[in-house]
């Protein structure tokens, strides 16, 4: 997909875009319901479900006990029997509490049953550091789920993607994990009023360029665009690609780009070691080895839990400066 999909004029915040997607999807299909902690009366701690209770009532907007395994199991059982649940797990860190349900049950049921089950289950959660929430409320764990056959994983980079990918996820007949980013919720952008899908599995070239390819996900897309501007000053024309869907990954678009630019870097918020950037980098060098003028670089968080102190967290979270510096390092290094 290219920049050709011109977004509409109306500006909307990321949080409102997610909420609008939920509301339109629930209007469209009676089988869609949402369940999670404080999603009903309170409208979720992040505000993504605000207003849904008033329009759809408590049967379709379900407050749950603090029982993540129970919530995820409820979603699976409901999906396997004909409903289209949206299960909200407040913070991505809490997926550890219901990991078995997500990985051993939701992801594998269809296959274990020889294909019989149809599981239109959407799991919505919130990732990311930078909000002074420390080690258990700030993680980006997308790499775990991309390693699990049976799941699809999307990670929106802005309001337009947040709505379009959520719609595609809920319309999909498979389990889809939608990872939103808490520090992007206030971001505003043009978002079409109507219901629209951003197709799963298609990367988006956010900024075309000729000298270098940056593959960035989630909040790092915006940081990479900033980095591209900085580098433009050095006369470097950087292409920025947002895969949008991490599983399945659009290898073709990314490799095609690197074959043109001959250099690449992956940027994500997650810990660098074992992050999804490793898979992207491995694939790029496998598919474009003869085109590469330099090693594929990776920018991610250092190997540490997320610290609380603002001073340390600032040091922890990747940003435009670090991305630009890594691009320069790679170029300097190249033979």
């Amino acid at each position: 997909m290219t920049t050709s999909e011109a977004p509409a004029a109306r500006q909307l915040s990321y949080v409102a875009a997610v909420g609008e997607a939920f509301a339109q999807l629930m209007r469209e299909d009676q089988r869609v319901f949402i369940a999670g902690e404080d999603v009903s009366l309170y409208g979720s701690v992040f505000g993504v479900t605000r207003g849904l209770l008033a329009e759809f009532g408590p049967e379709r907007v379900l407050d749950t006990p603090i029982s993540e395994s129970g919530i995820m199991g409820l979603g699976l059982g409901a999906a396997a029997t004909g409903l289209r649940p949206i299960i909200d797990i407040m913070f991505m860190d809490f997926l550890g509490v219901c990991m078995d349900e997500v990985v051993n049950q939701v992801a594998k049921m269809k296959y274990m049953f020889g294909g019989k089950a149809r599981l239109p289950l959407t799991i919505h959660t919130m990732a990311g550091a930078g909000a002074n929430m420390a080690a258990q409320h700030s993680q980006s764990l997308e790499a775990w789920f991309c390693h699990v056959p049976g799941l699809k994983v999307v990670m929106p980079s802005g309001p337009y993607e947040a709505k379009g990918l959520m719609v595609a996820a809920v319309h999909d007949d498979n389990p889809v994990l939608v990872i939103n980013t808490k520090t992007l919720l206030g971001m505003r952008a043009a978002v079409p009023e109507e219901l629209y899908e951003i197709p799963l599995g298609q990367a988006h070239i956010v900024r075309p360029g000729t000298n270098f390819t940056i593959v960035a996900i989630g909040r790092m897309v915006g940081e990479s665009l900033k980095a591209a501007e900085m580098l433009a000053a050095d006369g470097l024309d950087v292409e920025v690609i947002d895969p949008r869907t991490l599983q399945p990954f659009d290898t073709e678009t990314v490799v095609g780009s690197v074959r043109r630019t001959h250099r690449a870097l992956i940027a994500h918020e997650a810990v660098r070691f074992g992050g999804i950037g490793a898979e992207f980098a491995a694939q790029i060098q496998e598919e474009a080895f003869d085109y590469l003028d330099a090693p594929v670089g990776r920018v991610g968080a250092p190997f540490s839990p997320v610290p609380f102190s603002p001073v340390l967290e600032k040091e922890y979270v990747p940003n435009a400066e670090r991305i630009a510096a890594e691009v320069r390092r790679i170029l300097g290094k190249q033979v």
Partner: protein, 357 residues
């Protein structure tokens, strides 16, 4: 000590009512049982017994790959509960799931083909014994993860409540599984939302090789029901009629929207945790096994049916023989079925847009 009040004396179905629950007491005289129902229960038990004994032999002789957890000895539970259900009612199962699917009306051919890993099996050979399932019959799968069932069961029950049907979901789980957090979360949510669920605890006295008294400090798992605000019932799991009656009441309660029940069935696993060997094991005395076998659920039922002139010993034997023939036929079908083709490996992982499944 397991023999303190072992089923050898026989349990009277006992209801542990909980604050706010509208459960009626254990007297179930209200439920009337016609002879057809009794015969139906008997047939389901015999089908399970024969299916499992033959499967066990095939596993021990190495013909069936992997491990089988056999249900022999516990037939009264699956049969007594399942005779109350329609194909629209759902069940969640366990690693010991053959008995549940047979009792729910599973196709023996497809079941054996699955155990053999053949393309004609319920799961095209991809699941095997531990993942055998039939969504058309509302059987949401055997499961390799202990405690996985309860949380899936509340989802199925929620689904029926959401669509205003009067279907119920019966969740089978073991005494060992009752210590997994998932049981706790599911029980609380089921009671909170008054979901049409019956939690059927198959208390066979052991979690793998650990005796109940060494994995929990309570004797009756049904005592946990009060902590969720649902009734708990203890029933003799070797007495199929007692199970039927207690299950009928709990299921009726669920159907009328009055919420879940925890039904604990005291039963026993004749064979080893895996496979057929049951005697001479380190974790229990042979005498204990023999004690329990004295109250074999099928023998008890056949004695009662004969006494009431409903089924003669000859008729019982005849049915067992015809079942054995049916099972042998299923085994032949399975053995003659093709293995899946290697490229099937990458099929059935995702539902493709516009596809039927």
């Amino acid at each position: 000590m397991i023999f303190d009040d072992s089923p050898t004396g026989g349990y009277r179905s006992r209801t542990i009512t909980s604050p706010g629950s509208d459960a009626r007491s254990g007297e179930v005289g209200c439920v009337d049982i016609n002879r057809e129902t009794l015969l139906d229960i008997h047939r389901r038990m015999v089908r399970i017994r024969v299916f499992e004994e033959e499967a066990g032999k095939l596993m021990e002789s190495g013909k069936i790959p992997g491990a089988l957890h056999l249900y022999v000895g516990e037939e009264a539970v699956a049969a007594g509960v399942m005779v109350n259900l329609s194909d629209q009612d759902k069940i969640t199962s366990t690693h010991r799931g053959h008995g549940h699917l047979v009792a729910k009306g599973g196709d023996l051919k497809k079941m054996y083909a699955e155990l053999f890993g053949r393309a004609t099996g319920y799961c095209k050979g991809k699941g095997g014994s531990m993942h055998i399932s039939d969504l058309d019959l509302g059987m949401l799968g055997a499961n390799g993860i202990v405690g996985a069932g309860p949380v899936i069961a509340i989802g199925a029950a929620f689904s029926d409540k959401y669509r205003h049907t009067d279907n119920v979901t019966c969740c089978f789980f073991g005494d060992g599984a009752s210590n997994e957090g998932t049981f706790h979360e599911a029980a609380n949510m089921a009671a909170l939302y008054k979901l049409p669920v019956v939690f059927v605890c198959e208390n066979n006295g052991f979690g793998e090789f650990t005796r109940q008294e060494r994995h929990q400090a309570v004797h009756d798992i049904a005592d946990r029901a009060a902590g969720y605000g649902m009734p708990g019932v203890v029933v003799d799991g070797m007495d199929a009629v007692a199970v039927y009656e207690a299950a009928a009441e709990a299921i009726a309660r669920a159907r009328r929207g009055a919420g879940p029940t925890l039904l604990e069935c005291k039963t026993y696993r004749y064979f080893d945790h895996v496979g057929v060997r049951g005697m001479g094991v380190v974790y229990r005395e042979d005498s204990e096994v023999l004690e329990w076998r004295k109250r074999d659920p099928i023998a008890l039922m056949e004695a009662a049916l004969a006494e009431q002139g409903i089924l003669s010993a000859e008729q019982a034997t005849a049915f067992r023989d015809s079942t054995l023939a049916e099972v042998r036929e299923a085994i032949t079908f399975a053995e003659e079925s093709p293995f899946p083709s290697p490229d099937a490996l990458l099929e059935d992982i995702y539902t493709l847009a516009g596809s039927e499944t």
